[in-house]
């Protein structure tokens, strides 16, 4: 009885709400690139599927340009390329559809020679093994149709053909020399791959020879902290009602005292009246 009463009286506070839902807010990422060496600059349009009003328009995108990522709601989209300055209502030179999943990132790139230009959708990686980096290569040089790409002493790709992409590979963090060699010569570039970052190396036709562009696809904490964070001491936390036991004890003691006193008074009254 006392237990039941105290459980009732304690009024145990309801557990705080915890949202188990993913941090992602139903959005993914997309970036647009022009990687066709002999194709003139283009205007790139991003449409939400079925909507003729473009969400994003990138004007005068020249060869070698890669846009920053745009965060968009997950769903179906289409990407269209028109010649730079062409009316938005004109027939696109090229278009493709892309499905963006929440929490995923994509690169839509114009690839290949102008005569065989295509829009390719690449899945971009957003994870690394703990303390490591990830790297892939896009071969966008038309001058050198086949290249070998090394990161330090590690060969990333030995016979990489024009307009092709390697899968991502794990790399140790640090600063390394990227060497791109081909029948026409060799180009080198220094790249820094930090732990917890994802990179795409793009081999481009430079003004003379080859160029390597190091794109940072994604970045996070190189060493993710373990678990949650202890950032509170409870000074503003709602306080529980405390134990009812002292109060119940006081009531009990009071009852005892009152009963004793009351009984003695009563017994007193029942005694025969003294003369």
């Amino acid at each position: 009885m006392l237990l039941a009463a105290s459980a009732l009286l304690l009024g145990i506070p309801a557990a705080a709400t915890a949202y188990a839902s993913s941090a992602t807010t139903g959005t993914g990422w997309i970036r647009l690139a022009h990687l066709s060496p002999n194709t003139p600059a283009v205007d790139v349009y991003l449409y939400s599927f079925g909507n003729s009003n473009a969400m994003i328009v990138l004007h005068h995108v020249a060869y070698g340009t890669v846009s920053p990522y745009e965060s968009v709601q997950a769903g179906d989209y289409s990407v269209a390329m028109r010649g730079a300055g062409a009316p938005a209502t004109s027939q696109p030179v090229l278009s493709t559809s892309v499905t963006i999943s929440a929490g995923h990132a994509y690169t839509v790139a114009g690839m290949g020679p102008e005569s065989g230009l295509r829009l390719q959708v690449l899945d971009d990686e957003l994870t690394t093994p703990p303390g490591q980096a990830r790297v892939r290569v896009i071969q966008a040089s038309l001058k050198e149709q086949v290249v070998k790409v090394s990161l330090g002493s590690t060969v990333l790709a030995s016979d990489l053909k024009f307009a092709s992409v390697t899968p991502y590979q794990t790399a140790s963090p640090g600063t390394e020399t990227v060497t791109v060699s081909s029948s026409g010569g060799t180009a080198t570039s220094s790249v820094t791959l930090a732990a917890g970052t994802v990179h795409t190396l793009v081999v481009l036709d430079g003004a003379s020879g080859l160029e390597v562009v190091n794109l940072e696809d994604a970045s996070g904490a190189g060493k993710p902290p373990l678990g949650g964070v202890s950032t509170g001491f409870g000074g503003t936390a709602p306080h529980g009602p405390g134990s009812p036991v002292p109060w119940l004890a006081a009531i009990g003691a009071g009852l005892l005292l009152a009963l004793t006193g009351g009984l003695r008074l009563r017994r007193n009254r029942q005694l025969p009246a003294r003369v």
Partner: protein, 211 residues
Amino acid sequence: MPTRRPAAALALAAGLVVIAGGTAGLLLTRHPDPGMRPVAAGVAALPAPTGPIVAPPQSAAPKPVAAPVSLTIPLIGVQTQLITLGLTSTGELQVPSTTSVAGWYTGSPRPGAIGSSIIVGHIDSVTGPGVFFRLTELTAGDKIYVKRADGTLAEFRVTSVQTYLKDRFPTENVYGPVPDPELRLITCGGAFDTATRHYLSNIVVYATEVR
């Protein structure tokens, strides 16, 4: 006659007083103290800081951004310098040694650079509110500003506010790589465990840079 037994009468009276007192005490303490509640949200408590807002780096040639020095969240009156935080010897995130400032985890990207930048602050001390006491008042769209060592300003927009039980903390969501400049503000929240003196949950505010 009562007057003949003054001790008994006194005991009865005292007993009744104690019963009344005990009952009053019991009833009065059954309503949990709601704790300190934030003042009503509404107008921004602080003006937005000023400074040159530098466009986020284009991915083609990422320019390094300067280290963060201060954080302003006008809507909830937060204006704090940012100290630097690392990891503890056990691999957990360090927290500021005082509850009135926030800190940036140096193992995460700088605010405004590509990736998820981590800023941590206390919800409270043992006696009162800490720098991130009102963090849960933020909702999608609210602005957050980070000033950097070179005087430039990065402006962020809240995308979501989440509460996670600490034993189910989504490490990958919070600390994992992302492809655009983002911010994560972390503090404590949820129920307070009076036995361990720790909150059971973490509040994480997700924000992305405004371009």
